[in-house]
């Protein structure tokens, strides 16, 4: 009996040793991970065919205090640099330049969104996701991760826009 116990203990300690260090990589369980086709009703407009992030809505100015702005053909590098600094502090937790992260990358955003829309989205994301169709769809496409209002001023927001023009 005693020897059985001893050999059991030995077995256990061997098991314990094998537990340290790197574990064998195991595949997760397998299911059909392809998304179920969504049952979209007839109500949906043509825009639903394209994901919100790919949609081009340059004519939409969004909802909020920015009604109309004109961009100088020349990029204001000083303003862009200021915008980059603010972007780094306030936005990079969720937005990366080189990849889609919590939210979309701002690279190329000016090819899809109007300057007014971009600024309104930064200044009051809650209002935008409530009242702007594209913003609402983006919220759903990005997993329901609501964009944080970072309490930026119009001037700070404008400088971020200038920074986006350099990307």
């Amino acid at each position: 009996m005693k020897s059985i116990l001893k050999s059991m203990a030995l077995l256990f300690s061997l098991l314990l040793i094998s537990c340290g260090g790197k574990e064998e990589k195991k595949e997760g369980f397998s299911v059909d991970r392809s998304k179920a086709p969504e049952q979209t009703s007839e109500v949906s407009s043509e825009t639903n065919d394209v994901p919100a992030s790919q949609r081009i809505t340059l004519d939409e100015k969004g909802v909020g205090q920015i009604k109309e702005i004109t961009l100088d053909p020349q990029i204001d590098t000083e303003m862009a640099a200021a915008g980059e600094a603010i972007f780094k502090t306030n936005c990079t937790a969720c937005h990366k330049i080189d990849k889609r992260f919590i939210g979309p990358s701002p690279r190329g955003i000016l090819e899809r969104r109007s300057p007014e829309w971009i600024m309104n989205m930064i200044l009051d994301p809650k209002l935008m996701t409530e009242q702007d169709r594209c913003a609402k769809d983006l919220l759903i496409e990005f997993n329901g991760a609501a964009m944080a209002n970072q309490n930026l001023t119009v001037e700070e927001t404008r400088s971020i826009l200038e920074y986006y023009r350099t990307l």
Binding site: G20, T89, A93, A145, A146, N149, Q150, N151
Partner: protein, 651 residues
């Protein structure tokens, strides 16, 4: 004929009765349209008219309510550890509870007082005293956070505190228990004549509110119970009620009630201030903590102070007098004009009112009735303005409505009595439920009271609410005092045991209430200003995690290379810049508490992992639809392992 006359009279009388009834009917309809329910109803989405700050008593904290709704908005941690926010548990706030006795995580908070300018509430700060381990705290009324705590040396049972002078020159702290000064090993029964009662004057810097203990007046060894400043004409004086002028050291319940009269001590602090400025007083070695919280570094620091100036008032002629006051006075309140000093003899039926003008005249005329330890006792009749014959029993505290009326609580007979200042006549009385202690009218201890409501804070609850076992929260009642008669309009439970309270109009504070801390103003030495600065550093077995949060993830959220025996500091910086979006941080086996990090703030929680494994941490504040996803893992390896430190997010 005579008969007819009588019946005619009777008829007339009946008519009058009926007419009277009609009138009464009308006015009761009027009353119906402004029922008690309507008076306290603050509709959903609407806000209260007043803030009320109620002390927490043995909770050690300060609670914030709205009037007239009685809704509680917040508990501000002051002298007690508060796991809800991590106050007293986080590395930044632990120093706030440091004392000369070491870390004292609790106190008994009693008397809040809002800062004043020209005798009117200015809404900059609120002060409150810790009764047990004598301390005074200053709380910001824009962040509603405790910013400063000063320990009071040579004091014990810091009860006649924390009352402020009318330009917030000083916050004053008096000792309830007299003690040997300096403390020493001596027989208790040699109390009489040997113990001292220290009255401390702590200056408040006008710009940032910083406290400094300027001087302590060493008084005879009585119990200094409550106090209030002079105002208006009596500005420059401070009044303290005393009991145990018998100087008993045992069975005070009997032994301290022997004298028919104790005293209200009148202190001419301006005179003493001048004396100290001219080099008067004795520098005495001391050891007391001064704890300051810096809003920019989000960090508290504790400094031990080593010296205090003490003053023997008998060396400054004209600086201190005693006003004889019957039956162990408790409350010591000064009316808005500064003319009357109200002493509530707690074992009496009557309220004694002294006149400031008469006091000055009696001093001038040297109308003395002997002295106590060299301090002149003024003749009772020479300073007495009047006596309120209330018919109640056990008067405690008085507040004022600014319309010439005073309101006094009666503990033994459980009531609030309204009386006229000047005629001393009782106007109205209403029962309280039950055994009322303090009462509060917003601004009711200033030159400009807002006499619309009075809140009575009771010591006994009994049957007022659904029973919750032997211990219940204390009840409070709100009375509408806008009319001639008081009207009980609401009854609500309060947290802890409120002693005194302070209130002010909402518009004084609401517009300047801080919403966020600006991230670009964060000067915390362990802040993570941008997510790319998030990192983990090791020095020996001390590990510092620089972590940032935003809805809804931690950066980083996977950490490896932590070992059993490490001391891990999680420095969490909340990158939100939006109102009311704190994030929490908690990790399995944390021996402190979670921390709640406000937008733009950095807070630190220490974790000492004891077991090998992979341990989760998560956000404790439901922050967004993806709050449940706001989590991470720390891999803890054996002490002797050589797993390298690494940290990632989204890889």
């Amino acid at each position: 004929m005579i008969k007819i006359k009588y019946s005619a009279l009777a008829f007339l009388g009946l008519v009058m009765v009926f007419t009277g009834c009609n009138d009464a009917g009308k006015s009761s309809n009027g009353a119906l349209s402004s029922s008690a329910a309507e008076k306290v109803y603050v509709a959903p989405g609407e806000q209260d008219e007043f803030y009320a700050f109620l002390s927490g008593g043995y909770s050690g904290n300060l609670t914030v309510y709205g009037l007239p709704s009685g809704r509680m908005f917040k508990e501000i941690p002051v002298f007690s550890q508060f796991p809800t926010s991590g106050y007293g548990y986080s590395e930044e706030t632990k120093p706030m509870l440091n004392t000369s006795f070491g870390f004292v995580p609790w106190d008994d908070s009693h008397h809040p007082d809002i800062s004043q300018t020209n005798g009117e509430l200015d809404g900059r700060w609120i002060f409150i005293n810790g009764n047990n381990t004598p301390r005074i705290a200053r709380i910001s009324l824009s962040t509603f956070e405790t910013e400063e705590i000063m320990e009071i040396p040579n004091s014990a049972g810091n009860h006649s505190s924390s009352f402020i002078t009318e330009n917030t020159e000083y916050v004053v702290a008096g000792t309830r228990f007299s003690v040997p000064v300096p403390q020493r090993d001596m027989p208790i029964n040699e109390y009489k004549g040997n113990f001292k009662g220290a009255l401390s004057f702590i200056s408040v810097a006008p710009d940032d509110g910083r406290l400094n203990l300027e001087f302590q007046v060493l008084m005879p060894g009585f119990n200094y119970d409550l106090s209030h400043p002079g105002r208006g004409k009596s500005h420059g004086w401070f009044f303290f009620s005393t009991y145990n002028t018998e100087e008993a050291n045992s069975l005070l319940e009997v032994m301290a009630s022997q004298n028919d009269k104790d005293f209200i001590a009148a202190i001419n602090w301006k005179k003493i201030e001048e004396y100290v400025k001219n080099g008067g007083g004795t520098k005495m070695p001391a050891n007391y903590a001064h704890n300051v919280y810096d809003e920019e570094t989000h960090t508290g620091t504790s400094t031990m102070k080593k010296e205090v100036i003490t003053v023997d008032p008998t060396k400054i002629p004209g600086s201190v007098y005693f006003l004889p006051t019957p039956k162990s006075p408790h409350g010591c309140d000064v009316d808005p004009t500064g003319q009357y000093i109200i002493g509530s003899g707690k074992l009496s039926a009557d309220i004694t009112v002294h006149s400031f003008d008469k006091m000055l005249a009696a001093i001038e005329g040297e109308k003395f009735d002997g002295e106590a330890y060299g301090i002149p006792i003024l003749k009772f009749e020479e300073v007495l303005a009047g006596t309120v014959k209330s018919g109640g029993l056990g008067p405690l505290h008085t507040e004022f409505d600014g319309q010439g009326n005073a309101y006094t609580t009666f503990f033994i007979s459980s009531e609030v009595v309204k009386w006229n200042v000047g005629s001393w006549e009782v106007i109205d009385r209403k029962p309280t439920y039950y055994s009322v202690g303090h009462l509060m009218i917003p601004g009711g201890n200033s030159r400009k009271p807002f006499g619309k409501y009075v809140v009575a804070m009771n010591k006994i609850t009994k049957d007022r609410y659904l029973p919750t076992g032997p211990e219940m929260e204390h009840s409070a009642q709100i009375y509408d005092i806008s009319g001639e008669k008081m009207e009980l309009i609401y009854d609500f439970p309060t947290h802890g045991e409120p002693h005194y309270a302070a209130g002010c109009p909402a518009e004084l504070l609401a517009p300047k209430s801080q919403k966020i801390y600006r991230l670009d103003e964060n000067k915390h030495p362990y802040a993570t200003p941008t997510p790319d600065k998030a990192r983990v550093e090791r020095t020996g077995n001390e590990v510092h995690v620089y972590m940032s949060t935003i809805r809804s993830h931690f950066t980083p959220d996977n950490i490896e290379g932590i070992k059993v025996g490490d001391k891990v500091y999680f420095h969490i910086t909340n990158h939100e810049q939006d109102f009311d979006v704190p994030h929490g941080f908690s990790i399995i086996g944390q021996n402190t508490s979670e921390i709640l990090v406000m937008p733009g703030q950095t807070k630190t929680s220490v974790w000492e992992p004891k077991k090998v494994g992979v341990w989760p941490f998560y956000c404790t504040d439901f922050c967004s639809a993806l709050h449940q996803e706001m989590q991470g893992y720390v891999r803890v390896s054996p002490a002797n392992s050589n797993i390298e430190l690494s940290w990632t997010l989204g890889e």
